[in-house]
Symmetry: C2
Subunit: 393 residues, 2 copies
Amino acid sequence: MAYHFASRMGKTPRSFIREILKTTEKPEVISFAGGLPSPSLFAVEELAAAAQDVMADAGRAALQYSTTEGYLPLREFIAERYRQRLGLSVDPDEVLITNGSQQCLDLIGKVFLDPGDPVFIERPGYLGAIQAFSLYEPEFRSVPLLDDGPDTGCLEAMLEEAPARLFYGVPNAQNPSGITYSEEKRRAVAAALAGTGTVFVEDDAYGELRFDGRCLPSVRQYLSDATVITGSFSKIVTPGLRVGWVAAPREIMDQITVAKQASDLHSNTLAQRVIARYLETNDIDAHIERITRAYRTQRDQMIAAIEEEFPEDARYTRPDGGMFLWVTLPEGCSTMRLLEIALEKNVAFVPGKAFYVDGGGDTTMRLNFSNAGEEEIAEGIRRLGAAIRTFIG
Amino acid sequence: MAYHFASRMGKTPRSFIREILKTTEKPEVISFAGGLPSPSLFAVEELAAAAQDVMADAGRAALQYSTTEGYLPLREFIAERYRQRLGLSVDPDEVLITNGSQQCLDLIGKVFLDPGDPVFIERPGYLGAIQAFSLYEPEFRSVPLLDDGPDTGCLEAMLEEAPARLFYGVPNAQNPSGITYSEEKRRAVAAALAGTGTVFVEDDAYGELRFDGRCLPSVRQYLSDATVITGSFSKIVTPGLRVGWVAAPREIMDQITVAKQASDLHSNTLAQRVIARYLETNDIDAHIERITRAYRTQRDQMIAAIEEEFPEDARYTRPDGGMFLWVTLPEGCSTMRLLEIALEKNVAFVPGKAFYVDGGGDTTMRLNFSNAGEEEIAEGIRRLGAAIRTFIG
């Protein structure tokens, strides 16, 4: 039978990363391609205890259907943490629990995007957002990312030409580049968007994973009625439980709630209660400190290895948070072609091209440092350096 | 700020049921409005033990990201059960794990529906499907539901006029009516759809909850390349873990996998492993037998009470499975207006109107019998009978 699929399916990119991951399943491959947190840092025993407690104290409630908005004590925790950490006033009613923060992007696409609507995204931009929004058939336009955040001159010119429905950005330790917006840039982005009708989607998956410097304000601080924040416990507690959230002004939240309900009724009841119990009974700040200490060290090891092994004119970011760094190789060094040589040498990465909606990024690559130990980093970067030398010839 | 939302949001009905549920939170209200399985039948201890075992044996894997398709041993269990229970040949690669079966409908809508595409649905039809598909802006057309399944004469005439992209149906213990398609009707539906390009979406949420009679074949048996089955552990194990699945031919599954990945990457890793462990270490057939025995009794109690308390010319279905029965009151007895009186008398139901995409059903109502004990059923139906008498005057 010849199937007829919706036109959106032809516009949604397959995840190049997942394709690479399939080739990296061999144990001899050192992979910097994925985006996994280090499983050695999971609080397995504490989460097992939380699960046991929830099942013992409230088993029937944890196994039953629950509200679309999500478990209230968890939403209260999230709201209170915004207050403490960022001085941000968010009501628990402005928070809805999702299946990981990827689902936030699907819901935001559903709520805001008609086919052909303009969506601005950073250049390079997060591939998962490109995929999620693509299902709603927008027209993507890229805002170049400079060392301290988006090129706001360019953003202003683009807005002048035609405001977007959404501007999607990752102000903290961006995926894929590792760049963090400066405080000035956050203000400037908000100022540029104010009054244009463009909603800023502030993906804050990595805000808590900050190694250096103080925690910077949310763009919502400056653009409270037009910022939708997405958050996640994936990077600071566990990704396997798929617990994320979206925080948005009430009028937007009403629409998101309808979309969530139509999409899957509600998020996993047990998982929400387990995370809430874990947060109540453990010191999450101490846990995050363990993670950031480890990742900071891994970042430093990777940078040291790159300095040793890569050509002198290779450039790289020095992320102050998150899980990725971004390398730009010398002119002509196509990372798509380099990947073939690298895989022969049993090392993997993601070619930067995957993160550009309008072409470009040929000589760039994303390297993940959160899920590799010291030896793997040293050996993997050595292999990658050798692959580059083979390629350059 | 005035927000601009996507046009699909204006076309998606708010769940009338959720609105009613809000008014039924008072403890004095007896509610037949919801669709909850009986929590007294949850295997709390066994699921707690499964969770503990999974965390002890494979904690880091259970807490990590995992594949979009889902946990292979669980997909194997589902495929094997199709073989044993229905003699149906389904490969584990034709199964993808979702966040409850509601998400299947969202993914199917994403994969198949462009705005304006015709979608056939039973009349009355499942509200959750109306909501999920509405987000993809189809044109709904209703196929009348007779006592033994869809009116296939009408279906054939509709297909002749214009084939649909999808025909969504619930052959086993339909929600809301409780009707089960006869074997002949299953063949006739498949025969009518064959060669038209219309895909049958076979929602099988209640197939395992069969009280009377033998288990009937899946429509996929007769229409293997154009049937997509949705299934769920919500009714036989637990809804709170949000573990459902979709089973579809490979070419459709490829598209569903892309849609699932863009929507939320993958389903809860821990929940999938907990369900799989529970199924491995417990006798699921014995558990299902406990549930169906209880629900059969509750159905009989509700029917006995209706016969006692409702007007003689009220008609009702006698479901041979599932969780709902369907009442048609005498001409002129609007259940929307009746609901107000019923709520004053502290009893709730869902007016049938909510299940019609094209109007009608004014004198019908859906009653849930799975989540009410003997006394509640007797007292609730007594109150409802009094409300009807008050209404009729």
